[in-house]
Symmetry: C2
Subunit: 193 residues, 2 copies
Amino acid sequence: MMNVTIFGKGNMGQAIGKNFEDAGNTVHYVGSATPKNEVTIGEIVVLAVPYPAVSSILANFAEELKGKIIVDITNPVNFDTFDDLVVPADSSAAAEIAKQATDSKLVKGFNTTFAATLATKKVAGQHQTTVLLASDDQEAKKIVTEALAGSDLAVLDAGSLKRARELEAMGFLQISLAAAEKISWTGGFGVFH
Amino acid sequence: MMNVTIFGKGNMGQAIGKNFEDAGNTVHYVGSATPKNEVTIGEIVVLAVPYPAVSSILANFAEELKGKIIVDITNPVNFDTFDDLVVPADSSAAAEIAKQATDSKLVKGFNTTFAATLATKKVAGQHQTTVLLASDDQEAKKIVTEALAGSDLAVLDAGSLKRARELEAMGFLQISLAAAEKISWTGGFGVFH
């Protein structure tokens, strides 16, 4: 059982937090109005906020996040153009965050699953939702995976943190398909083993 | 009904060709040993060859391919490192091919579906296979989509040719998951609408 801290109380934060709770962990939610002295930082910290909001959280909690597992769930879509990402093409949001959070253990995940598919644990109500995790820290990936055991989500090791680039491309593609009404926000990409 | 030419007689070429045949089109297969004077170039030309083999086909059939629809199915994986792609990070195989085949209509597709899922029309034997198509030529996308009607594949418009970058990232991720035995070569990503 872990203490898990979720920054962000939106649909993604709530759905991810619920899964950690369902698996028996204690979850602490942090909203933008939560006073810093009321924030509990657990072993696993999920940044369920938009990519532009990540940097200030890392700065504000620099000391507290040392040694912790940080889970980056962002899709750094350029919402002005909706045609590219705001991170360099050969990088990823996760790689950029890793540059700032050098004393934490960074895991990319949850960015290829819409909130509804995390909340219901099924894609389109019919196929088990799979969370893809990428990290250079095998132990951190294992801890997150084990913390989700019992949540009814499937968890798959997607490789090193470098694969965050592909995960974010897939997340962007899925968002663009839903925005164009080619798929619904309860559907998207399912993983078949 | 269309005349469809498939360059490449491997698993992908055969599975794609069979789908066009199932949908009632006439399919002409071209292998590396096929003499040029025996090659029939149809309205739709699928380049079902590895990315490094595309350029010479475009050069050898430069005249014949003018005005035709070219379908690029490649995943330009760097098979030495298996850790990146051989095309520039802000580009895609499709974008590179488009630079050479300026007088053809380029469509990206079939690169996010393993050969087995095209042959059986199902991902992991249970969910209809969806082909994602990206192109700047709406008419070309429509012609390919209509030519596949009746094949039992689902076809989805994934947007402009720029989305080939994301399709290739997704294809690469899928290949890397299968190579790491996290998923099987008959499974992978299914699309839920």
